[in-house]
Symmetry: C2
Subunit: 312 residues, 2 copies
């Protein structure tokens, strides 16, 4: 029992990352049913689809779950209205100013968590009145911070900078890394990559199997002139990397990318032309598992490690 488990009303301080094209109601409800916090990723959903996922999630679990909302979402007013109408109790906001929605969400009795990649934005989130923060390091998959601070360096820095309940993200997917995050000052963890590859994730099976074969060094943070994004090796990533090595400008990159690449890669399993967003830690996993298997392993490993003696 700590500030994260009591804030969310959950058993274990394990939050599932709300990932575009991966985190639908199936994944979220499975994580919540296993004692963590399941999160629906609204970023890749039109408003009606989000409503459907929330309703299905409520039908599949009686436990708390959340919705992740990237604040740059074009129809954000509509999304927030649905979240309130459907009685969602926890919203995780990212990629934008936490001031814009926090008071409004609080007025609707919703717990607000904001995702940051630096102490500076952690302090801004505290000023905006959020209830907790997720601090996400360089090793995380998909969209990422500009400062490239790794989880090992970020968590102690954010812990010093704010008093908010702190959830560590980026490179976490085992009981060991959960315990490392706790020692660095976090009170909970957010796990993306490992849940993205479970049976319950809505990503394409082709994408999942591909990611389960990745080796160390097979992802890279690219697209820094647009929005830094960690991508797995494939034809599309090589295209981006080559263009960037030659000094491609932001607009040249936009033209090269076009639109719909993450959907193509993650949801449709187009391993050649799709954008494959996944974290560095993927290379540690070789076998597909269910959410229950993952959660049991995390909890057992953490429990075993926390009982060991580390004295010199």
């Amino acid at each position: 029992m700590n500030r994260i488990t009591s804030l969310f009303g959950i058993k274990y301080p394990i939050v599932q990352g709300g990932m575009a094209w991966c985190s639908g109601w199936r994944l979220a409800s499975a994580v919540s049913n296993a004692g963590g916090l399941g999160v629906i990723g609204a970023g890749s959903m039109c408003p009606d689809l989000l409503r459907e996922h929330i309703q299905k999630c409520k039908a599949a679990t009686t436990k708390p779950f959340g919705v992740n909302v990237p604040l740059m979402y074009p129809q954000i007013d509509e999304l927030m209205k649905i979240i309130v109408e459907e009685g969602v109790k926890i919203v995780i906001t990212s990629a934008g100013n936490p001031k814009t929605w926090t008071s409004w969400l609080h007025a609707h009795n919703i717990v607000v968590v904001h995702v940051v990649a630096s102490s500076k934005f952690a302090m801004k989130s505290e000023e905006a009145g959020v209830d907790a923060i997720v601090a996400e390091g360089f090793e995380a998959g998909g969209h990422n911070g500009r400062e490239e601070t790794t989880t090992l360096c970020l968590i102690p820095a954010v812990r010093k900078a704010t008093t908010l309940p702190l959830i560590a993200a980026g490179g976490i997917g085992t009981g060991q890394s959960i315990m490392a995050a706790i020692i660095l000052g976090a009170e909970g963890v957010q796990i993306g990559t490992r849940f993205a590859l479970t049976y319950e994730s809505s990503a394409s099976q082709i994408f999942k199997e591909y990611c389960l074969r990745l080796n160390e060094g097979d992802t890279k943070l690219l697209l820094k002139k647009l929005s830094p994004t960690r991508l797995a090796n494939n034809f599309f990533k090589n295209l981006v990397e080559q263009a960037e090595a030659k000094g491609a400008t932001a607009s040249e990159l936009l033209e090269l990318i076009g639109s719909g690449r993450p959907k193509k890669g993650i949801l449709e399993g187009d391993l050649e032309n799709g954008e494959l967003e996944i974290g560095q830690i993927a290379s540690l996993f070789r076998q597909q598992q269910s959410v229950d298997e993952v959660m049991n392993e995390l909890i057992e490993d953490y429990s075993r490690l926390s009982k060991m003696r580390y004295e010199w």
Copy 2:
């Protein structure tokens, strides 16, 4: 007592990084006298100067110490001859093939440790017969691996890939991060940045004070077309960054850099035109300390943390 402390014959499994222009006999002997493993950085020394530093180090401590040798060093035969003649017992090799020197060093009863940034090179080091490895993550200062794997992701991967005694490096400079590294599977740590900023480091006081004012995000891994190097913000770093953003080739970068930049920055304290090599973790430290103060803090913090209960 573990495999690292018994391999080196030291009290605490804390190795000081052998850093160019920072790690002379003063720093190395202070770390060894405090119960860690002090390391002379031969990379920035001509052979005669290395001999002088080894002799002074032997005069300043009766404890074990090591010498770090970058394997690309031009007069490496001469360097190795001096190391043997002076009776150095521990050599840490980096930036090259561990096969070239390991057997020869073993034949002279020298313990060999090799620095790697990936599991692949950890396995090659094991094949080459080294006695231990340092696995160094993306957040480390100065020269760095191409795969950009962070310490949090690297240590568990290397732990799985080899059975060698394992020293974690990159982003480590507090008791907390030492304990995190141990939980991730390391048996010891290598600390560079924090020791580079102590009184005993041979870096310029101007460089040290500058690094003690760095904020999060003030270092970046650049020069990826040559040899990836983490640099602190300054005029020189901006020059490199701008050239790279425009697609500068390796030869254009070489021309821009010229030679002697790290010496200029680190030893001579030229904050404008020098190359300032330091790790991400620098932003956590604000006060200059002696090696004894650092070591005491690390040991006390680790001891306190290792006695705490982390059970859920």
